[in-house]
């Protein structure tokens, strides 16, 4: 009330003052609104850009290379993240990193390199933007280097591949190079499958560095895949140990062993000597890295004789109870001589195999057309890739020509004039064991047995198996390959190595076979290349290793051994056919 009264008492209003004040206030508001509108609507990009510069980051997640495991989940190759130390010489110079040399000394100590060399690497060319100082350092060392805070020294994520199995499966698994690319073996063949690509994503980070907003994905990543091999690491380890022992005992140049599951065609072990340590790759020798079990071929010698018998039985040119005259222990074919070590007289088919008679087997080969023999060899996988699909596999060499001299036909029957790999040999015996069904060889664990191909009749395959039992029993050529409890159907082979213009003085000693005969599970081939010393026969050199691997592997697979009585019954069964 009193105010109204005052107003009434002071009616003189000075309008321009009011207008000036109101005008100023309005101007203030308008300019504020204009500024706000300018920032918000007309030109928001600049500030947005400024904000993004401070908060937006692109993160990438590192994808580790896939694991390689054996059929039971044992690790054969594992990638572990490590860091690479690199330098940006320009940054180092700009940030005057060389002032405090104590830090460089600490860096050199932890990297175990001379400090002069290290500094020189960075100092030499200040225009350079990138130089590796050390690759694959452990996370602990990386943390230490991070805390040294040397200007221009940075760390980068990478991964290192470890092979827990070491030299045992080195050639099969292969290795990766320093950039994590597979260059040998499984690592090479399945490189794309094992390799993942990192995904990149834009994120917004808060002041303390934690991600507060996930924006669009810049690059869609792909996760890596694992591989489960058909290898059984226990058998692999046993096979390698026995092979190594045989190679050293007989001072051989090299050796291979292949173990195949008869029922599925899966490779349970594949080992080679000499081997190398894939975890210490400073002095790799390429000849040690070759997976000889499938790259190296040799003339299989007497080990193919059972298949000549099978071919003859299949062709019907001989009956299973027929006797073949081999007297006088040698024969002349086309001006060349084929001879046995003794005059064995009339021989049953089983005895031809047990004594490994060249004369007997040549007669069988000459009794059938050469195409029948070659066809049998080829249908069992010779001269063809096994289906294992690994880099460097050799198909072997088997001539396919029209004209063959009689002597050449005879040599084909005792394993000369064509070549095979240890893998192919094991596969041939696996085919015998599976009742004449040829399976593609697989290095990956299979969910179910693949569709096989019947290449021999079951009757013939079983007959030949029974004939081979005698090889490892008293009077056979490979008594050292005998195992009590697991009857073996196997065959020795000793072939001279071909050199330019003929055959040299070096041998390849082979033993291949399947066991147990009554319920075949495994086929194994052992090939010892160039044994030096007095012994070079397949039965002496490769036989013992075969027996050790076979009996150990069958025990590991819980295959029931047969009792003595059963063994006698079995042994007498084929004898009655004689």
């Amino acid at each position: 009330m009193s105010r109204q009264a005052k107003r009434k008492q002071n009616p003189e209003l000075i309008p321009w003052r009011l207008y000036v004040v109101v005008g100023f206030v309005l101007l203030l508001f308008v300019s504020l609104i204009a500024r706000a509108a300018y920032i918000q609507i007309i030109e928001p990009d600049k500030l947005r850009h400024e904000s993004d510069m401070r908060t937006l980051r692109t993160t990438s997640n590192q994808v580790q290379r896939g694991l390689i495991t054996d059929r039971n989940g044992d690790m054969l190759a594992v990638s572990v993240p490590v860091r690479a130390v690199w330098a940006d010489p320009k940054h180092a110079h700009d940030q005057k990193a060389f002032v405090d040399m104590r830090r460089w000394q600490a860096l050199a100590d932890v990297l175990q390199e001379p400090v002069d060399k290290l500094v020189n690497k960075v100092k030499r060319d200040p225009k350079k933007r990138f130089v590796y100082l050390k690759r694959q350092v452990t996370p602990a060392v990386a943390d230490y280097i991070e805390q040294l805070k040397i200007g221009g020294i940075y760390l980068k994520s990478e991964s290192r591949r470890y092979y827990p199995a070491g030299e045992i499966a080195a050639q099969l698994i292969g290795i990766t190079n320093i950039d994590d690319v597979g260059i040998e073996g499984i690592e090479n063949t399945y490189n794309t499958w094992l390799t993942g690509t990192p995904s990149k994503q834009k994120v917004r980070k808060s002041r303390d560095g934690s991600v507060v907003e996930r924006l669009d994905i810049v690059q869609e990543g792909e996760s890596s895949n694992d591989i489960v091999l058909s290898i059984d690491q226990r058998i692999q380890q046993l096979a390698y140990r026995e092979l190594k022992r045989a190679t050293e005992t007989f001072q051989a140049t090299s050796g291979s062993v292949v173990v195949i599951d008869v029922l599925t065609g899966e490779v349970l072990a594949m080992a080679n000597t000499p081997s190398y340590n894939p975890n210490a790759r400073d002095n790799l020798q390429s000849h040690r890295m070759r997976n000889r079990a499938l790259t190296d071929t040799f003339e299989p010698g007497s080990t193919v004789k059972p298949f000549v018998v099978a071919a003859a039985l299949e062709a019907g040119t001989v009956k299973s109870d027929e006797l073949i005259p081999t007297s006088p222990g040698w024969m002349r074919i086309g001006g060349r001589q084929v001879r046995d070590s003794n005059n064995y007289g009339d021989m049953s088919l089983a005895k031809i195999l047990v004594k490994s008679s060249n004369v007997g087997i040549s007669k069988l080969a000459l009794s059938m057309p050469v195409q029948q023999l070659l066809g049998t060899y080829q249908s069992m996988g010779l001269g063809n890739y096994s289906g294992i699909n690994l880099t460097g596999e050799s198909a072997g060499l088997i001539h396919d020509r029209r004209r063959w001299s009689d002597f050449e036909r005879a040599t084909l029957s005792f394993g000369y004039g064509f070549t095979a790999t240890p893998l192919q040999l094991a596969r041939m015996y696996a085919t015998l064991g599976s009742g004449g069904v040829l399976y593609p060889v697989s290095i990956l664990k299979l969910k179910e047995a693949p569709k096989g191909q019947q290449v021999l009749s079951e009757q013939v395959a079983n007959d030949v198996m029974q004939m081979l039992v005698g090889v490892t029993e008293a009077g056979g050529t490979a008594t050292k390959a005998h195992i009590d409890g697991y009857p073996i159907a196997g065959k020795t082979g000793t072939s001279r190595k071909a050199v330019a213009g003929g055959y040299g003085d070096d041998y390849v000693a082979i033993f291949a076979g399947v066991a147990p005969v009554h319920n075949p599970r495994l086929a194994i081939s052992v090939v010892i290349n160039e044994p030096k010393g007095d012994k070079y026969y397949g039965g002496d050199v490769a036989g013992p290793a075969f027996a050790k691997v076979m009996s150990g592997a069958l025990q590991m697979l819980n295959v029931e051994p047969i009792s003595k009585r059963e063994a006698i019954q079995m042994a007498s069964a084929p004898r009655s056919a004689e």
Partner: protein
Amino acid sequence: MNQSALNLPRLVLQDIWHHKWVVLLSIVVMINAVAVVYTSHVSRKLTSQWDQLLQQQDHLDIEWRNLLLEEQSQSEHSRVTRIATKDLNMSRPLPKEEVVIRAN
């Protein structure tokens, strides 16, 4: 005039009542705005937590890989065989020494 001037609060209330929907909506807008701020804050916190969990997962993965390597080297078959035969005086029975026990 006098009467209305005396009842100014009432007038204001009447006016508000007259525009009750506008007032209500503006209150809702205010609440909404605060809720937006709040949820975005919560979502940021969750994202940050998620990120931390992812990092933790990475660390655990690295640890797992290293443990895997250790397990593998400890349980390496030739090492187990060596310990069993040398240190524990065990031996693997030959196939002929095996005794098969059948369940049926």
